[in-house]
Symmetry: C2
Subunit: 229 residues, 2 copies
Amino acid sequence: MEQQTPKSKRKRGRQQRRTNITRQKLLDAAKTVFSERGLDLTRIDEITERADVGKGTFYYHFRSKEKLIKELIKGMLGELVAVIDEKCEGINDLTALMDTLIQVHTEFFSNRWEDFVLFFQGRADLTLQVSYSGIDTPFVDYIERMESLLDSVIEHRISKPALRRIACAVAGFLSGYYSFAVISPQGEDIDETFRSLRGAMVASLVRFIKETAPSAEAIGNVENNTSVN
Amino acid sequence: MEQQTPKSKRKRGRQQRRTNITRQKLLDAAKTVFSERGLDLTRIDEITERADVGKGTFYYHFRSKEKLIKELIKGMLGELVAVIDEKCEGINDLTALMDTLIQVHTEFFSNRWEDFVLFFQGRADLTLQVSYSGIDTPFVDYIERMESLLDSVIEHRISKPALRRIACAVAGFLSGYYSFAVISPQGEDIDETFRSLRGAMVASLVRFIKETAPSAEAIGNVENNTSVN
DNA sequence: GTCAAATCTGACGATATAGTCGGAAATGAC
DNA sequence: GTCATTTCCGACTATATCGTCAGATTTGAC
């Protein structure tokens, strides 16, 4: 075995670089086509065409379209979570956290339309009975990251399900607004709009959380059933 | 011409009924399959199979899958808007309006999972460059309905774009929460969860709107601000 | 009953896409 | 340079789906 790369089987160098480049070309092309045609209607031929490589090359790098999608979504959400972690580290005030979260999301998807489409398409896929296998995990990780951030900032202890509800509301609000803004007229700058709404969003989400934290806990005696805890 | 049905070309009766039944069977089957496989991956054969009719029958009733989708989404959103109109008529208090809107959405999608999937899939489709033609109009109508309701309830005049932003935020929040809750663990009852969050949602959306209405107006001169308060 | 129009059927031809495979080209070791 | 290994290519096969069409069946008028 070689000294530099004990992880791989054999020797590396320019070959390794070429592989990475080709692989990246495929990933980039795929993201582009996905944002144009959607996950389902994208054909492998179209991806390889855009990437300007032969069709066989695709199958050399990825077992199937499903694996590719899984990798893309996992990568994208991984990046998002990483930025969230970085920017939110050490914050222990709820308002500050909300403000940063919104900022991070806005900045992340700004000028990365393809990633937002990927995000939204992937999430829409989760509502189906048959979806691309494995793409749920990254989304769950993402939500759980938000949960733990919220948890560390909310005063009194609240239950796991209650946390989950709040995290879903926050995440839903963020992407929900974005997605509807798409229908907006003219060449309105969504990001700037989002920025201008940021203050109000923060304030209302904070209020939402503060009011929900106790009441979300109380679920169960509301109706008569479902004893969460 | 016959006396009963002057609208149609010729004679009607049992034949008319049979047609309607078959057509409805196709629409129902389509909705079901769409919620399982998604719009794109649904095959005509699968729809006719579920509806228990011959394949040719589909093409007798619908020119294409695209037309079918358009009709389904238009119908579904038409129903939703109708309920919204009915329940929100005469309301002139912002808080009451928000409360009713949330209630209507929850009730509407409760036990109508297929419709929610249709709603969400359709909306996800709008983020693409190539989507099913014609499905944007119903969504725009829906948003505009919300706009006019908000307009009639918010005190001071605000501009069209500002209204649009607020309506998007409200609609995004509603469906966004719902869609993320899907990832929720166990057999949690989303509707009940939603119900328990309703109070907080109303309060925070009202606050959001009241804070946004003036500041959304000020877009353009913003930039480094976020003057919450 | 007869006839015409409306509705339904499913086999069929045309087309499109997935995934494979034998071989070409590039790389690295020597 | 040779040779083995990795990477890439694109023509090909196998399969899946669309949309059509000629004919069967049902309905309504008479």
